[in-house]
Symmetry: C2
Subunit: 637 residues, 2 copies
C-alpha cells in the first residue's frame, strides 16, 4: 500500500504543479495529516469478501442506479455485489434494443426537442436523433422525503436534456430539451412533499437567445436554473442567476432549493474562473418563485416563464463560500446542507432553519453558515449515514473522510472539537460518493460508494483507456473499511443506492401500454389486432407489416415489398413467460429492436436494397432460436 | 435449489411442448438421469467466494474477451472476478468514445465496406455508418497452437462483417464486410502455424448476387465459407457449400477447418429446417483449396475467388451427424473435434488423423467418427480442460456435463464405459461455454464459464428485460463447483479466457500511430505539428481547428467559424501519464470523442447552428476538469 500512496502523492504533486500560480492550494500543505488512516491489510480484505460477494442463488439487498457519464445510458447495479444487472439506454443509441431506431424510442427522444434542434438533426444526414449524451446524475422521485419507486430522473450535459425512466419497466419514457440554457449539469428532485419538481442547473453561461446575435461578449451570457414538472415532464419555471451553476439539491421541507456556483467571476477561461477567493451557493425560495410566476413577475422566453433571480432579487439569496464549491448535499437530518469546497479544503454547512430570516433580510447570507470544517484537499461531494456523520470525497488527497456534523458545528462555535473521525485511502481521485439511502430521510448508514476517476494499477492493463474505479466501503463500524474495487466504463459521475423493497418492476409489459400508443392507434386504423394478426398493409408506398412472435417463431415466414417502399415492421411478442424477450434484426438493413414479453415494438426504414434479406430473432429464446427467422423479399424497382 | 430445478423443468417442458410434433426430443426422455448432480449448498457457495473475489489491491489472473451480442461491442473482463474492465466499441456506435463519429473510427468502419452498402448508408439520412451490430464470437490470433496477444477477431451477424481489435491499444483497427454471403456467424482463427486465416461462416443462404434478380427461389440460394487473411484483413478465398453454416473451428495442424451445418435441408422455415434425422459437418482441405485458388479453379465474384465446395468437390467432405449440430470445437489434444448435437442428445467426435484418408476416399465420412456419446438434452458447445475431459452445455437440461473423451471412444468401440463424469445445474439454458485457455494447446483446466441465456430469478428484478447469466465454475476438482453468477447485457454469445501474461497492452498511445494516419498526413499538408500547434486553418468553407490538451487545459480557449462551415476539430493529447485520457464534447452539436494519452483524435461536423457553443473535456482529468473548456463562436450566415 505504501507504494500506491507514493504514486498518488507523486501524481497529486504533478497535478498541482500543472496548476501553476493560479491555484490556492500551496497554502494548504499539511491539511491531509489530520487523522489516522484506515489501512487495508490482506486480512481485512478477506473478511470483506464475505460480505460483498453475493453467493450464487442469493440476491442483492440494494439497487444501484448509476450514471454512465458520456456513455449516455443509465445502469442498474445489484448492491453490495456491484454487478451490473441492466443497461437502460437513454441519451445514447443502443445497438441491442434499437434505442434511437425504433419508432417508440424516436418519439420519446424527439417529442421534447426544441424546434431548432429538430431542424438541425433532420438535416445533413444526422438521422433525426442525437447519437450521444453525457448522463451525470440519476436520482429517484421522492414522496415525503424518501424514494417512492416511481421514476428516475437524469441529466444530459452534452445536449442539454433531462430524461425520465419509468421504474415499472425500467425504460426511458420522457426526454426534454431545456430551453434558454446550455449543458445541464446538476440535477436533483424535490424531496418534499413529493417530486414534484426536478431541479436542473444549466452549467455553461450562454446568450439568451443563443442565435449568434451575441458572440464574444461573455458579460452578456446568462445562467439558468430550471424547475421541471416531474409528472408532466414540462418546464414549470426558470430562474436567471449570477455565476455559473454546478450541482444542486433540495430541502426536506419543500421550501428551498440550492445550487453551488464555481465561477462567480463569470469568466471564460481557467485563470479567470478560479480568481476569486470566494464563490457562492444560490438559495431559491420555491414558494416566492411560484407566487412570482402566478403574479406574472417573469419574462416569457421560448414559451417558458423566466424569473429574474440575479443578485438583489427577492427570489434568491447568494451565500458566499470558499473558492469554487462543487457538490451540494442536503443531510438526512433535514436541517443541514453541505457545500463542498473543491479548491478550498473546507466544506460549508448551512442550517435551513435560518433561511426564512435570510430571505426576510433579518440576517446576512454568511449568518446561515453553522460550520466550515477543514477536511483535506479537494472536497467534492458529501454523503451521510443518518447518524449525524458525513463522508466527503477528497479529490486531491485521494481519500474519503468521515466527519461529524455536530462536532464541526461545535468547532465553528469555538469549542475544542475535532470533527474528523476517520480517513481512508481510495484509488484514485474520487468525485461523487453516495451512501445507501443517503439522500433520503431513511439513510441507513450501511454502505458508502466512492466513484473514483482513475484506476491506474488497480486492474490488469486494458490499454491506454483505463476504467474508472468505484470502491465500496463498509461504514457500519467506526472505521471505514474498503470492500470492493469495481471497474466501470466510461465515467459514471453519480449514483444512488436504493433499498430493494422500494423498487418493484414488472416482469412483463402490459398489453396496450402507452409506450407504443401511436402504434396501437395506427393498428386500430388499419383494423389490425396487435398480437393476433399477421398482415401486410399497403398504403401507397408505405407498407406496414404486422406480425407477432412466439418462441421459436415469427408469425410471418416471409413478406414482399418493392424497392423504395417505406416499410414499418410491427412485432408484438405474445410470449408472457418471464425473461422471454425476443428481438427482430433485419440483416444488412441496420435494423434491430428489442421486444419484451407482451411488448409491441416497431421500426421504419426504406427498403432500398433489393434482394433477399433475412430477419431473425437476436435474443435467445428457445432451442430452435437460430431457426426463428424469415425473409423480406425486396423486388427491384 | 429444488424449487429452481422445478422451474427449469417446467420451463423445459413448456418449451418442448411449443416445439410440437416436429421435434425429435420426445424419444430422449430419461437421458438427463445419467449422472449425479453437483448440488450447491450455502457452505460451498461461501468457500467459492474466497476464490472468485479478487480483493482490493489484488489483480485478476486472466483476461476475459467477451462478446456483447447485439450490443455490438467487445468487452474485456477480469477473471475470475468477472468484473467488466473495458468496453471496446466495434460494430456499435459509442456515445463516450465517439466511435462511429470520429474521423478515425469512421474510416475504419467504412474502408472495408462493399460499394452498395456505402451507397445505402450515404443516402436517406443514414449517416454513413451502421448503428448496430451483432457480435458473437471474439477470438484471439494464434501462433503455434496458442494465443499470441496480437489481435482479436470477431463477427457481426447483423451486417455481415468481421472486425479486428489491436491488443496493444485494445481498439478496433480493421473492419470488413464479407461479400457474396449474408450474416456472418461462426468465426475462428487458424491455430497453426499462425493466424493467418480467420475462418467465417455466412449463416443465411442468399442468392449470389443478391440484387433482386432471384427472390423466392430458395433452391437458388447459397452458403459461403470465407477465409480472411488476418494480417491484411482481406478476403483470401471463399468456398461455396451445401447447407446452412453455423459454427466453425480449425485444427492444430494447419490442414483443415470445420463447419457445422444445421439446415442441410436448405429450408426456409422451421419445420423444414429440422426435418432430416441427420445434418452434417463440412471439412475444408486448406492446402487443396490454396492449390485450387493458385491453379485458377475458382469463379471470381465481387473480386474474390470463390471455390465450388459443394458435395462431390475435392475441396470438402461432408460428415453426417445427428440433427442440427451447433457448436464445433477442436480439443487441445490436437486430435479430436466435437460437433454438438443441439436437437440430438449426442455430440459427435471425429479424429483429424483420419481426414487424409477421407479426402483420399479411402474411408467414408462416418469412418472419421470415433465417438458419439449421449450427454443430455440440447448439447450446444464443448470446452476442454487439457486433461482429456470435455465440458458440454446442455441447453434444454440447463446443465453443464463433464465427460471423458477416451471413455466416449471406448464406449463407441463397444467397451463397457460411462464417459459422463459429472453434471451441474446452471441457471438457465446455457449456450456457449469456455474454459481457461481451452481453445489452445495450453488449456489449463482451471475455470469453466457457462454463458446462460436466461437469468429469471437469479437477480433482483430489473423489469421485463432481464440480464443473461454467466456462471463461473471451478473445474480443478472431480466435481464441478459453481462459483459466481454474472449478469450481462445484452446477450454475450461467446468469450475466451486468456492467461494475463499473454496480453501486454500499452498504457499510452505512440505519437504518429497509424490509427490517425490520415490526420497526420493532413496536418503535414497544413504545416502543423500535431500536439504543438493551436491553429485554425481555413480552406474555403472547410475549417480545420488544431489544438492540444494538457490537463486541465485545451490549448485553445475559443475559435470562430461561420455558419455552414465544415469544421474539423483535431485534438492531440500531450499528457503522457497513465490513465490521463481527455475528451472533447461540443455541446449541442452531438460531437464527442475520446483522446487517450499521446493520442490524436479528430471529428468533422457542419457548424450550422449559430451562437456560442461550449466544448468541454468529458473524461475527468484534474481537480479543475470542469473548467477545462472553451467556446466555438458560430457567426450567423
Amino acid at each position: 500500500m505504501k507504494e500506491e500512496n507514493d504514486k498518488t502523492e507523486k501524481e497529486g504533486l504533478t497535478r498541482r504543479a500543472l496548476l501553476g500560480g493560479s491555484m490556492k492550494l500551496t497554502a494548504l500543505a499539511g491539511v491531509g495529516a489530520v487523522a489516522g488512516f484506515a489501512v487495508m491489510t490482506p486480512e481485512t480484505a478477506h473478511a470483506a469478501a464475505n460480505k460483498v460477494e453475493v453467493a450464487p442463488g442469493d440476491l442483492d439487498e440494494y439497487y444501484g442506479f448509476w450514471s454512465s457519464g458520456q456513455a449516455g445510458e443509465m445502469r442498474i447495479l445489484g448492491m453490495p455485489s456491484m454487478r451490473e444487472l441492466m443497461r437502460v439506454p437513454v441519451f445514447n443509441r443502443c445497438s441491442a434494443s434499437g434505442w434511437g431506431s425504433t419508432n417508440e424510442s424516436r418519439k420519446i427522444m424527439r417529442d421534447g426537442m426544441l424546434p431548432e434542434t429538430k431542424k438541425y438533426l433532420d438535416s445533413g444526414g444526422r438521422g433525426g436523433v442525437w447519437t450521444n449524451g453525457d448522463l451525470h446524475h440519476p436520482h429517484m422521485s421522492f414522496t415525503d422525503g424518501t424514494y417512492d419507486g416511481r421514476y428516475l430522473f437524469m441529466n444530459d450535459k452534452a445536449n442539454t436534456r433531462v430524461a425520465r425512466v419509468r421504474c415499472d419497466v425500467m425504460k426511458c419514457d420522457k426526454m426534454i430539451e431545456i430551453p434558454n440554457t446550455a449543458d445541464i449539469h446538476g440535477l436533483r428532485p424535490q424531496k418534499y412533499p413529493r417530486t414534484g419538481y426536478v431541479f436542473a442547473n444549466g452549467e455553461h453561461r450562454v446568450p439568451i437567445p443563443n442565435d449568434g446575435s451575441i458572440l464574444d461578449e461573455p458579460e452578456k451570457y446568462h445562467a439558468i436554473f430550471t424547475a421541471i414538472d416531474g409528472d408532466e415532464m414540462k418546464i414549470a419555471w426558470q430562474v436567471m442567476v449570477d455565476g455559473n451553476l454546478d450541482n444542486c439539491d433540495a430541502d426536506y421541507q419543500g421550501l428551498y432549493a440550492f445550487s453551488t456556483c464555481y465561477n462567480s467571476e463569470e469568466a471564460i477561461n481557467l485563470s479567470g474562473m478560479i480568481a476569486n477567493e470566494r464563490d457562492w451557493a444560490v438559495v431559491f425560495d420555491i414558494k416566492a418563485i411560484e407566487a412570482g410566476v402566478k403574479a406574472g413577475d417573469f419574462k416569457e422566453i421560448s414559451g417558458v416563464p423566466v424569473i429574474d433571480g440575479r443578485k438583489g432579487s427577492k427570489y434568491t439569496r447568494y451565500i458566499p463560500v470558499p473558492n469554487s464549491p462543487h457538490g451540494c448535499n442536503t443531510a438526512p437530518d433535514g436541517i443541514h446542507v453541505v457545500f463542498n469546497g473543491k479548491l478550498s479544503p473546507t466544506v460549508t454547512v448551512i442550517d435551513v432553519r435560518k433561511l426564512p430570516d435570510l430571505f426576510a433580510d433579518k440576517i446576512k447570507p454568511r449568518d446561515t453558515v453553522v460550520a466550515e470544517p477543514e477536511l483535506g484537499l479537494g472536497p467534492l461531494h458529501t454523503a451521510f449515514d443518518g447518524n449525524g456523520n458525513a463522508f466527503t470525497t477528497l479529490f486531491l488527497d485521494s481519500q474519503a473522510v468521515k466527519w461529524n456534523i455536530q462536532k464541526a458545528i461545535d468547532l465553528y462555535n469555538g469549542k475544542n472539537a475535532n470533527p474528523i473521525l476517520d480517513k481512508i485511502d481510495v484509488h484514485y481521485q474520487p468525485g461523487h460518493n453516495h451512501t445507501s439511502m443517503g439522500e433520503t430521510k431513511e439513510a441507513d448508514g450501511k454502505w458508502l460508494i466512492s466513484l473514483n476517476k482513475f484506476s491506474k494499477d488497480r486492474f490488469i492493463n486494458v490499454g491506454p483507456l483505463k476504467p474508472e474505479n468505484e470502491q465500496l466501503i463498509d461504514i457500519t463500524g467506526d472505521k471505514m473499511q474498503l470492500m470492493h474495487d469495481g471497474p466501470t466504463y466510461a465515467e459514471p459521475h453519480d449514483c444512488i443506492i436504493v433499498r430493494a423493497d422500494v423498487v418493484n418492476p414488472d416482469s412483463t409489459w402490459t398489453k396496450g401500454d402507452s409506450f407504443w400508443a401511436e402504434t396501437s392507434e395506427q393498428a386500430k386504423k388499419d383494423g389490425v389486432e396487435l398480437g393476433a394478426a399477421s398482415e401486410v398493409i399497403r398504403d401507397g408506398n408505405k407498407v406496414r407489416v404486422y406480425m407477432f412472435s412466439i418462441a421459436p417463431n415469427f408469425s410471418m415466414e416471409k413478406f414482399s415489398v418493392k424497392q423504395g417502399d417505406e416499410v414499418t415492421i410491427i412485432v408484438s411478442n405474445i410470449d408472457s413467460i418471464d425473461d422471454l424477450t425476443h428481438g427482430l434484426t433485419m440483416a444488412n438493413y441496420g435494423v434491430a429492436m428489442e421486444i419484451g414479453p407482451q411488448q409491441t415494438s416497431s421500426i421504419t426504414f426504406t427498403a432500398d436494397r433489393p434482394g433477399v434479406h433475412w430477419f431473425y430473432c437476436q435474443w435467445f429464446c428457445h432451442a430452435l432460436h437460430m431457426e426463428m427467422r424469415g425473409r423480406m423479399l425486396v423486388e427491384p424497382a
